[in-house]
Symmetry: C2
Subunit: 566 residues, 2 copies
């Protein structure tokens, strides 16, 4: 019931009933039907019915008897479509004519109960595991109550080309189930049962497949069929809402809706500074060459700048320790961006402001970070100060650490709401666990975000960081090493022994604690980290020769040093 309520609240108008859920449910089928109707939900499909077709005659009788019982349950539920999965039993016979004959018989019996049969090729079916093979058998059986069910996972996980769907008459596609998945090299049954996710959260081209299904003339529901260990543990409300968001995003991409306002850069990053008197954050920014260039007209917020890098320190934010609380994005159309976010069910934030303040449009990211869509007007809130030029030129990227349950949701959020494109996904060793990481960027690289989840033991806090683009990391390091050596994260000499075995690098990197990476095309990456303040630290990065990554190979070194010094 909890699931039905969450599904209805998210705005769906129909559900599949998965048999296992019904079996464990204390309500009778009639009560489930009534409850669904009260919630405005139709029961579009009952599933699964397994191992029916292509069996020896003595098994067929038992299978038909089993089906009769299910038709009765379906009548009580008010469901008129039954999903039949291709037989996986070793006892199944590889004979298409036999399969077609027995499915025709099943369809005849079903018709007597007003039920229709949707036959689906499981990716691991014994003899039938390709969607076109299932369609061939359905056509051979030639019964009006028999059609096929298409499931994007079963089609795309085998690498089948979905364009063949356009060979199927739309009215013979009885049902469409959508699921995305990350590309994983593993047994397809395990992959399906544990790692499915919502469209847009994985690596499959759901829009392309759905376009083919619509081109075939299908007019039925788009249904999400997702099995995922993490989703199972998450709240049903939140999961249902995220599923609806994925369908809206899919629909928008099918309608050719392009993102109205992909951000053109970072306007600012805002840190909670609960103890400004200590000068910890301000001192750190000063040391990095920032200057306090403005003070908010009506709030306890300071603007610190260097080049195009702008950091707000907010003494009024609700936070027990320094933490990243908001990100401002330069938006060509703030109003359009927030409207687009709203259409994708993102919570648009109310903005309390003083009468003279410039209005700012903001939405909440899955982890609660506020995302502001800004034009340049926002700077008018701040009394102007001197502009500061220095080696730091802007914000290169922002890295957020998500709770485990929000990782897939965050990927979809940044992709659909902000219009960023997924880049690399990584798993990095951490001394106390594993760090999963997904990078996303605007097409021109002007905005880069990294979303992490830390699967670590208890008591290890998730860090966030702001990476600042820098013209000359070595120069900054040289100055800080002389003036404020305690501000830089120390890098072990062993790291440089290895680095120097791999590349001919300037020995000064070792003295300064600057890390180094090189890509296959000779692009170079120089970076360094500050120590952590509260939940936050800064990274200085210098990209040379078109380097597009994030120095991921060096992150385990950083994590080990941070754990050791935390």
């Amino acid at each position: 019931m909890e699931k039905l309520e969450a599904i209805a609240a998210a705005g769906f108008d129909g559900v599949e009933i998965f048999e296992n859920d019904l079996l464990a449910c204390p309500l009778s089928p009639e009560e489930v039907r009534a409850r669904a109707a009260d919630l405005g939900l139709g029961i579009d499909l009952y599933q699964p019915f397994r191992d029916f077709e292509s069996v020896p005659p003595e098994v067929l009788a038992g299978n038909l008897r089993r089906a009769e019982r299910k038709f009765q349950v379906m009548e009580r539920l008010g469901a008129d479509l039954l999903l039949v999965c291709s037989n996986v039993s070793p006892a199944a016979i590889g004979d298409d004519e036999l399969a077609a004959e027995q499915l025709r018989l099943l369809a005849e019996r079903a018709a007597e109960h007003g039920v229709r049969i949707a036959y689906e090729a499981l990716a691991w079916g014994r003899h039938v595991n390709e969607y076109l093979h299932a369609w061939r058998i359905v056509r051979m059986a030639d019964h009006p109550s028999l059609g096929t069910c298409l499931d994007s996972f079963h089609i795309l996980s085998r690498g089948s080309d979905p364009i063949g769907i356009e060979a199927i008459p739309g009215e013979k596609i009885f049902f469409l189930q959508l699921a995305d998945a990350p590309l994983l090299a593993m047994d397809v049954l395990q992959w399906s049962r544990h790692y499915r996710c919502f469209p847009g959260q994985g690596n499959f081209d759901l829009a392309g497949l759905t376009a083919s299904v619509l081109r075939a003339g299908y007019a039925g529901p788009l249904s999400l069929e997702v099995f995922n260990d993490v989703f199972r543990q998450a709240s049903a409300e939140r999961t249902a809402l995220d599923g609806m968001r994925s369908l809206i995003a899919l629909e928008q991409s099918l309608d050719g809706v392009t993102h109205p306002a992909v951000p053109a850069g970072f306007a600012f990053a805002e840190l909670a500074d609960p103890d400004p008197g200590s000068g910890t954050l301000g001192g750190l920014l000063s040391a990095l060459g920032f200057a306090r260039t403005g003070v908010h007209a009506s709030k306890p917020v300071e603007l610190w700048s260097q080049g195009e890098a702008r950091i707000l320190l907010n003494a009024g934010a609700e936070a027990g320790e320094p933490a990243l609380v908001a990100i401002g994005l330069d938006s060509p159309d703030p109003g359009g961006a927030v409207k687009h976010a709203g259409s994708l069910l993102s919570p648009v934030l109310p903005r309390e402001r003083a009468p003279e303040d410039v209005p700012l449009d903001a939405v909440a990211a899955p982890d609660g970070t506020e995302i502001f869509f800004c034009d340049t007007a926002w700077l008018a809130d701040f009394t102007p100060g001197t502009l500061v030029a220095g080696p730091i030129t802007g914000i290169d990227h922002v890295a957020l650490t998500q709770p485990l349950h929000y990782f897939d949701e965050a990927a979809l959020f940044y992709r659909s709401v902000l219009g960023l494109r997924p880049q690399e996904s990584l798993e990095l060793p951490d001394p106390y666990g594993l760090l999963r990481s997904k990078a996303m960027s605007a097409p021109d690289g002007a905005v880069r975000m990294v979303v992490n989840i830390a699967q670590v033991g208890a008591g290890h806090l998730p860090w966030q960081h702001i990476a600042l683009a820098c013209d000359d990391v070595v120069a900054v390091a040289r100055r800080l090493r002389a003036e404020r050596p305690g501000l830089l994260l120390p890098i072990p000499g062993n790291y440089y022994d290895d680095l120097e075995a791999r590349y001919e690098v300037d020995p000064e990197l070792r003295r300064l604690g600057v890390l180094y990476d090189r890509d296959a095309d000779g692009g170079e990456f120089l970076h360094l980290y500050t120590v952590t303040v509260g939940r936050v630290f800064f990274e200085l990065v210098q990209r040379v020769g078109g380097y597009q990554g994030y120095g991921a190979g060096n992150a385990p070194i950083r994590l080990a040093v941070q754990h050791a010094s935390g």
Copy 2:
């Protein structure tokens, strides 16, 4: 350092240094060497050195330069053996003679530094991925400083037969790395990096492989090389101790040490009963037909019996709610059993007792449950009462829920310390997550244990249960349904709609809420559950016709009802 200390404390006398650990370590190689020496640890191996052999001449020069740097680090570390993994690079050339020639060159350079090279076939090596292939190349190279390294995972994950190891002269096996793993159908690289476990915790025959290595004449160290996401998150001390336990168990099985005292049955199960005045647990046992047949001479402990099923209710145990705190096992040799447990590093528990009490030998299981090894003398502690005959005849099995980090440890504990054999492993859906489950039993089925881990959302308590063997579950259910209907877990009617579609079963099962399973050989299982009291519930089980399972298909129904009523 934390790792080295834990390793030394667990009694190891040497370590492999994994390069990533060193790179992130603030200590210099000399300091690591000194610290290891202080702890009594030799550095047996430095690893890995990757993608060296079978390369074009222009790459070779760079690789040799890289190796020279590593030899220097090894001299500083005091390590004289370097692991070279077979090349995985697409640039590698499939030419054994080239590989041998380049490895000989590497061995010559190594010899100048007093270093030896152990060449290993990675299971996913580009051209060399079988251990006999690596040995062929080593023999071809024919250099005294070049030998092979054997890794049980790389050998057994590919299904290679380890008996071929006996073709390798012992002195050319420079190193042996041991890791077990569960059988998983997935990409071997992912399998290796995330799911390795200690010998005896997975499905590989480590004893057979090690026996072949010893028969070949190998006299070097047995080294554990395990990559495991869960171990990463666990405490280093506990993991090191568990690793040592796995080696001791392996050694015992190689020495033909058989378990001195496999338990012959359950003597008792002990429940904490923090509020005996409420009569909740006593009332439940009464309703199930138990009688209070004894009271402990000196402690607030009651003995409740029916047939051979004995439950102790302990009002003095430290527990906030009813919970399973101890298990008594009938042992043919309690002293031998506890000595054996001690040899496997299990904590032997001190037993505070009154002067007149019978001494009892006990050890702590990984989750803290106390395991007592009993002969019949323990009953002398209890003032005798009437013996009770009834449909319940004994304890069929006990199911414990483990913290995630202790699951593999528990499997090894029950296997090595108690001499139980692993049976089925399962993953079951739970409304709020997934339940992983592993069953173990004495060879004759007299003792069965089920170890679960619940990967569920926060706030859902792990349950434990005692399954009671019963002659006639239907009769007990009939009586309870009439007298104490609230004691039985209600089973949804939908479950029976499905059951009756699959089997011809007595319609009374539905009325009584008795669950049913049938195995492939026609063996039958009838069972029911009581409601949960504190962390504990009871199951009544009736095995018919040699049924050996646990009704796993019905567990999701039970879990759903328990969650709904909790």
